[in-house]
Amino acid sequence: MSEERYNPTELLICTASRLMEDEVTAFIGTGIPMLAAALAQRRQAPNLIPIFEFGGTGAILEDLPMAVGEARTFHKGLAASGICDIMETAARGFIDYGFLGGAQIDPYGNLNSTIIGPRHHPPKVRLPGSGGANDVGSLCWRTIIIIRHSRRTFVPKVDFITTPGYLTGPGAREEAGLPPGTGPLYVVSTLALLGFDEESKRMKLLKTQPGVTVDQVVAETGFELIIPSQIETNEPPSDEELRILREEVDRQRLYI
């Protein structure tokens, strides 16, 4: 990873941003997803429709929101409603992608953002809780997880399933009553781009980040990854991406 050209946050943003298609609806949370969406609107996805949980639909992300309810989440937007309307829009199958983060992820893409440690209350470490994550992970068609890569985050079993991935494997989501055809699609990490095996629903390495070896990914992952024989390397953030990110998207360097 070239320390000079970009930092890990910028790498995550650019990698996630490239996954954002034009003319789709995407649930955008605070932080990296907002920057990735703003970058995507300026590049390959001018008509990406950002959806913010408290009501913003179709904003033009000229200035970066600092919160998912801020006026910037419906700046020149197509609609500004409320959280029930948005979550119900997801329930009806209108939201294509959702971006999620978390403190822990397991091989099935289950996410924890509630507590660290074995006991629910009082816990060893109290994290913020689900917020909209559980709803996004339950109801959007596909989720894309953005997370820093380490053995502390990539764990065999999360301490708490805040947001369902594939739960215990194939068929488990449907068995739980979650809408069919949903679940995590990609994991964007500081070390790799990962996906999920069609059959087993376990996490699979797709590409390494620039300058990262497969061994490094394996070493920093607390469970066995599916590793195809051929692994490509992600394109590093381009000068153009970094320029837009720094000069247009986050002019005030609030995040990067």
Binding site: C84, S130, L178
Partner: protein
């Protein structure tokens, strides 16, 4: 209705819709009376130790911060709280006045995990924590708003968020699918900040409505703070802009910059340095205490708070507001 699975979290408020109906019949007037009062009076009259309380939207966005601070100032304690929050619930947690949480998210957004939440929950000072999703808690308000004891949803299923909630899973009698049933959440007191209200409590909001409509209708007592008090003629000219009708409202507080340090769409932007000041201060118990002393306890009211913030700074926030271009 056979229950397939029940969350193990405690059902803190019972969804007794008959009692709620009776309350609304006997305790809520249909009379058009002047409800304008100060923060002090509103909190003194309607908020009490141990009550179950909720705030909308959240700390940095259209949040009744002047009411939130007054709750602390009056030494109200043992609150049971519907927990979607940023600065507002953080202040309450730091002040040690929260006993029970139906939590969805309490954190500092881009600034990360809440230190105040960590201290209060990890120490056991907050005695009960029941988990929900943001959609989940909003739908619980919506159930109460609809006057029904529960709503079915297809969220929270399969997760520990469900397991540590008080929701239930049943089979849909029409399709045979599993759905989660969320119990209606009736608040003893709701606090909501709006753009405009008349003296009777008819309210208008600009921009997103968050969960204001649902929470207003789910509250036994509702305290409104408003940036601006408008004549009722203005309400009657635009009845289609009323999102909270007067009969839901018990108190109307005129609170310009009532969301500070948060923002108010089309009026003022958030006060980033002040938000950061709390983020920093709240990292330690002492820091949080000092902040509360300086910004809450040592100030008699919202007017004094605004004076301390200073006109110049407020003007800058107005300058930075979202505009309808």
């Amino acid at each position: 209705m056979r229950v397939i699975e029940s969350g193990i979290g405690e059902l803190i408020q019972i969804p007794d819709m008959n009692a709620f109906r009776e309350w609304n019949r006997t305790q809520k007037s249909r009379k058009l009376v002047d409800k304008l009062m100060t923060e002090q009076e509103a909190i003194r009259r309607f908020v009490y130790d141990g009550c179950y309380i909720g705030t909308e939207l959240y700390g940095t966005v259209r949040c009744p911060m002047s009411l939130v601070r007054e709750v602390i100032r009056q030494g109200i304690k043992d609150l049971r709280v519907a927990g979607q929050g940023v600065t507002e619930l953080d202040l309450w947690l730091a002040a040690g006045i929260v006993k029970t949480l139906d939590i969805t998210y309490i954190g500092l957004e881009v600034y990360g995990v809440s230190s105040a939440l960590r201290r209060a929950v990890e120490s056991g000072q907050v005695e009960k924590v029941v988990e929900w999703s943001n959609g989940g808690i909003s739908w619980r308000f919506k159930a109460a708003a609809m006057g029904v004891p529960f709503l079915p949803v297809r969220s929270m299923l399969g997760s520990d968020t469900f397991k540590y909630s008080a929701a239930k899973i049943v089979e849909c009698p029409f399709t045979g699918e599993k759905v989660a049933l969320l119990p209606a959440l009736i608040l003893d007191v709701g606090l909501i900040h709006v753009h405009r209200a008349d003296r009777y409590g008819n309210c208008q909001i600009e921009g997103i409505t968050g969960f204001a409509l649902e929470m207003a209708r789910a509250s036994k007592r509702l305290i409104i703070s408003a940036e601006e008090i408008v004549p009722t003629e203005e309400i009657r000219r635009y009845p289609d802009r009323t999102v909270i009708p007067y009969y839901l409202v018990d108190a109307v507080v005129h609170a310009p910059f009532g969301s500070h340090p948060g923002e108010m769409a089309y009026r003022y932007c958030r006060d980033e340095p002040e938000i950061k000041a709390w983020v920093e201060a709240s990292k330690t118990e002492e820091g949080a205490r000092a902040y509360l002393k300086e910004w809450v306890y040592d100030l008699p009211d919202h007017q004094a708070y605004l004076k301390k913030v200073g006109r110049e700074r407020l003007d800058r926030l107005v300058e930075g507001r979202e505009r309808r271009e």
